[in-house]
Symmetry: C2
Subunit: 481 residues, 2 copies
């Protein structure tokens, strides 16, 4: 078996780009800006009929003027020009392309469909494999390749994103950045004329750095192959999917978006189940689940413990745990005793453990989570109630300073050290741990926890639902031949 056709497309050594100009307000320019700004290491060759340079790079009049045959060609040119340019590219030996240009099958005009057929013929003649048309391109953090309209400056993550929406690839970068996780690679499929879901699944199957496959699906073109492939791949890596085409409104929307043939929701639902695909019900949930899979081990069972310093989020999590079909067991006498040792008299050692307020940070940040994670009858842990040391520093500043009992820098340093110790300790048990917070990364502890690999979800219920996804996947794995 040779190299997967997507490998060269996702890891090109050089990229030619047609359709950007020195007017930054154009779609093509958006994309080239990020290709340049993302610091892709290989050569980038803008092709432009008139300009000497485009966005600061030397430009070439025609494809045949390029100093080498590029591994990848990106096209953001007018709809009807694509077949001829592709013909020229094929003649030159270019065999991988991204066709961002839209206006084909998805507009369901005769002209659009004819142009698509022309593209098909040219691609077949020259052995060209391409992503699109009507897509937004690709993102590969491992080689800092980004042909999409938004910048992505984060480290490479373990998530492989397959999206029938360019937005759900590229518009997510700022969202992911705020939560401190990232895609490793992402492919916006567009109309999937040459490369489709199945190809991409196969590709990510073989990519060792990709440990979670995330899919936004509008419709599946090759259902039989999809089922077979997903069934195989999901045994190795979790596949999480959002499918929006199954309702009347969704079905109508996707038809004009990517020309997808959406199918009944119940059929897709059954297919996902058979194939071991974990279904999500919103884009937010798709990414929540992916985050959990990318950072946490699978729980051995579904017996959960909750540790909180706030009753409300504790009760929300407890409520959601039960509603999701997870278990919230009462603790053994030993565990209760171990917890009680560190609890103030206002606290409770039932499940949820609510410490309310304690003056001893080690109780909340070490002794009690230790007692819970050491319990063999507990498979996973939820946390709520972390604030970084700079919260105290800010409180102190609000009343003029001097009430901290120490220097602000020292308080910050101690807080950071405590967080580091907590993360190492939490990850050491091999059990999934998830937190939630209403703060953002301006809080140092929330930021450090996220960077350290503990997902801190923006709401308590979202943490619980992500845990439920891990449990669902484990059950699926356990019950398959």
């Amino acid at each position: 078996m040779g190299e997967h056709p997507l490998k060269k497309l996702m890891f090109p050594r050089s990229v030619a780009f047609m359709g950007a100009s020195n007017n930054i307000m154009r779609m093509g320019s958006f994309l080239l800006v990020n290709l340049i700004g993302g610091k892709f290491e290989g050569p980038i060759y803008p092709v432009h009929p008139k300009e000497e340079t485009v966005l600061g790079l030397k430009a070439y009049k025609r494809l045949r003027d390029l100093p080498e045959v590029p591994d990848l060609l990106v096209l953001v040119i007018p709809t009807r020009l694509v077949p001829d340019i592709l013909e020229e590219a094929g003649t030159l030996g270019i065999d991988r392309a991204i066709i961002v240009t839209a206006g084909y099958d998805e507009v369901s005009s005769e002209a659009g469909c004819e142009l698509q057929q022309k593209i098909d013929r040219v691609a077949e003649k020259h052995g060209i494999r391409y992503v699109g048309p009507n897509c937004i391109g690709i993102y590969n953090a491992f080689i800092r390749l980004n042909t999409t309209p938004l910048p992505n400056r984060m480290a490479a993550g373990k998530i492989g994103m397959i999206s029938q929406s360019g937005t759900y690839l590229s518009h997510m970068y700022p969202y992911l950045e705020r939560l401190e996780f990232n895609f490793g690679e992402g492919i916006s499929l567009g109309n999937s004329a040459s490369i489709d879901l199945v190809d991409t699944l196969e590709y990510f199957e073989e990519r060792p750095e990709i440990e979670v496959i995330t899919m936004y699906i509008e419709g599946i073109r090759r259902p039989r192959e999809f089922l077979k492939t997903a069934r195989r791949v999901s045994k190795k890596k979790p596949i999480v999917a959002l499918y929006v085409g199954g309702s009347e409104g969704g079905g109508r929307a996707v038809a004009s978006h990517t020309a997808a043939l959406a199918g009944e929701d119940a059929i897709y639902d059954a297919a996902f189940r058979q194939a071991g695909v974990i279904r999500a019900w919103s884009i937010e949930q798709l990414l929540d689940f992916s985050w959990a899979f990318a950072t946490q081990p699978l729980p051995a069972g579904n017996r959960m413990a909750i540790l909180t310093s706030s009753g409300g989020p504790g009760a929300s999590m407890a409520d959601c745990v039960t509603r999701c079909g997870l278990k919230l067991p009462s603790f053994s006498r030993e565990t209760q005793a171990a917890v009680n040792e560190h609890l103030p008299h206002t606290g409770t050692s039932a499940n949820p453990v609510d410490v309310t307020y304690t003056k001893d940070p080690d109780a909340f940040l070490h002794h009690i989570p230790k007692a819970l994670l050491e319990d063999d009858e507990i498979d996973g842990l939820f946390l709520y109630g972390f604030f970084g040391a700079d919260w105290l520093v800010k409180l102190d500043e609000a009343v003029g300073g001097g009430y901290l009992g120490g220097e602000p820098e020292e308080i910050r340093r101690m807080g950071a050290a405590r967080t580091e110790a907590l993360i190492e300790f939490l990850l050491g048990f091999g059990k999934p741990v998830m937190g939630s917070t209403f703060l953002d990364n301006t809080d140092s502890m929330v930021r450090d926890m996220r960077r350290g690999g503990i997902p801190m979800f923006p709401s308590p219920e979202r943490a619980v639902k992500a845990m439920e996804a891990l449990c669902r996947y484990r059950t699926l794995k356990d019950n398959r031949p």
Copy 2:
């Protein structure tokens, strides 16, 4: 009918505070910091047995040393001291208090319950009405009164928050601040020993500035009075509620949190329906719904239009609209024609309208939304795809600058002016309009839209579900005597 007993408590002219010290790491100190830092205009009197000053304010040794009888007394003192201090306060004529101190009914110890009975007797003897015990205090933006542990620096909003969790009052401030909306007033009820849900509902009923009532409920103590009151109040103002006590896990959690007697979920669900209360299913959703009610008019019906520049979020919204039972009608010939006039050939004028990419900002920001909102057969509008001008400026900077076709400041100014015009125009139709974005407020357009009163939800589905809540409330109102 006299003034509601909560009025004096929520609008005190002076506050005495017992339980803060010059060690900022203590619970009482957290609260006093925010009372001081929030710039409450009346006098604040810390009471402390030893210190001359507390957090920079002159301190008094005992309550009887205060220069006046304060309107409100806040207690964060040891559990067993509360009855005696309250007795002293009552003797002095203090008749409103917040008892933050915990350790009473919620710990279900004999000692705790006895202390609560003592408090009851003292309160009755002196006519003291109090919030708590085991609460986090109150927040009143109208007089900048904040006795909770987190600062809140936003303008007063229209939401009255009633919470059986202190966290779901105070920890939400940074979350609300990020989304640019705020509570007007908020009350953390704790164990609800003197002031409960019903009292607070009655109070907010009379507050003209409060237009939406938001409730986090662990259990209802006076179900009959609650039903009667909620039924009456919900005719005037929407009431949105999250109830977490109805599941096995939730019921157990709330018992030890606020000593609430939770009831079966189905019973609460039916009661909410009867009382015209809009139920939410997570804390995030509770606030989403409240945000929508606080900013948008009610839709006349449930026929929705979607306008997007991105197919994925368009499809997600369309899918969610149908799943929520809202309608996504096909447009009339006139509306389609009006939309088509401004659409590029890659766009679609079906519902969702997907403009894909257009070079004409007025198409997306004026002409097309105008056509949709002018359509009598459309009751509400969803938007996706806004980016502020600084996004362009940042793109330009990423490639060294100079490709904007204008000065960055001018581009920013034009962008801000366009956003301002858009907001005014969108609000002028008297139809609900909601957007969504994956950006945060570092994007100027997202920030300005939120500040201008267009809720921009953090995900497309959340916008749709919030609209559904408005539709549900309108239907409830229409179908009531």
